[in-house]
Symmetry: C2
Subunit: 136 residues, 2 copies
């Protein structure tokens, strides 16, 4: 799907606890720093749909497991991936794509978004879950 | 201590899982984006000492609890704070301060560093734990 980049990330084990990569300024996924924040999503719960008109998202899941579903209106197509410590990749999402995500793990399912813009409700659109039909 | 900023951060509860602030580009703690990475520190283990000569660190603990100890050679003084979900604050550390941190929680003690520079071993100095004496 156009506007999506999946980048495998390193988890570096050390005797005192691992180091986990997220995002470097020199990587092509990086288009600017606006804000970093976390979002936890409880098991079975789904946050979405949301479409950003200007923000690029860089999503990393350092704890638990989250299912991401992206819908492209232009391509009329879905993209789906589960991310977490078992599949530790960064998901970069360009503007103009619809995004929803679901908690899969029993405990904490923690998402870090390194976003290219600060949170601004004016630059995002929301739809009810049922407005974009997907077999969750 | 000069070169240290502690900033209380919001945890916003929602029925599907909380949102936790980390860092915005418009905040005074932000001096540039180089890299974001995670570091886990096991209970009782101590990572340090490390001093960065150019990097500013922005440290956030979204899971567990971590004890941070900062040593200023210039002031010959220590600064100590425990951060985590129970005391959810961002710790901004300017260059030229010695930093060490210890895992306090039983499970995951997860640190996010939003660093002003990419990792570069040339710009950091390391000392053995015993080289800067502190009552851990």
């Amino acid at each position: 799907m156009d506007g999506i980049i999946l980048t495998p990330l390193k988890i570096i084990p050390t005797p005192k606890g691992e180091v986990m990569h997220a995002l470097k300024q020199s990587e092509t996924s990086f288009v600017g720093f606006g804000e970093a924040y976390f979002s936890n999503v409880l098991q079975g719960e789904i946050k979405g749909w949301k479409k950003h008109t200007r923000m690029t998202l860089n999503l990393i899941v350092p704890v638990g497991e989250i299912r991401f579903v992206i819908f492209s209106e232009k391509e009329n197509d879905f993209f789906e991936v589960n991310l977490g410590t078992k599949n530790y990749q960064r998901l970069t999402i360009s503007p103009d794509l619809w995004v929803a995500f679901q908690g899969i793990g029993k405990g904490l399912n923690l998402l870090l978004n390194v976003a290219s813009l600060e949170h601004d409700p004016q630059e995002a659109e929301n739809k009810e879950l049922r407005e974009i039909r997907f077999e969750w």
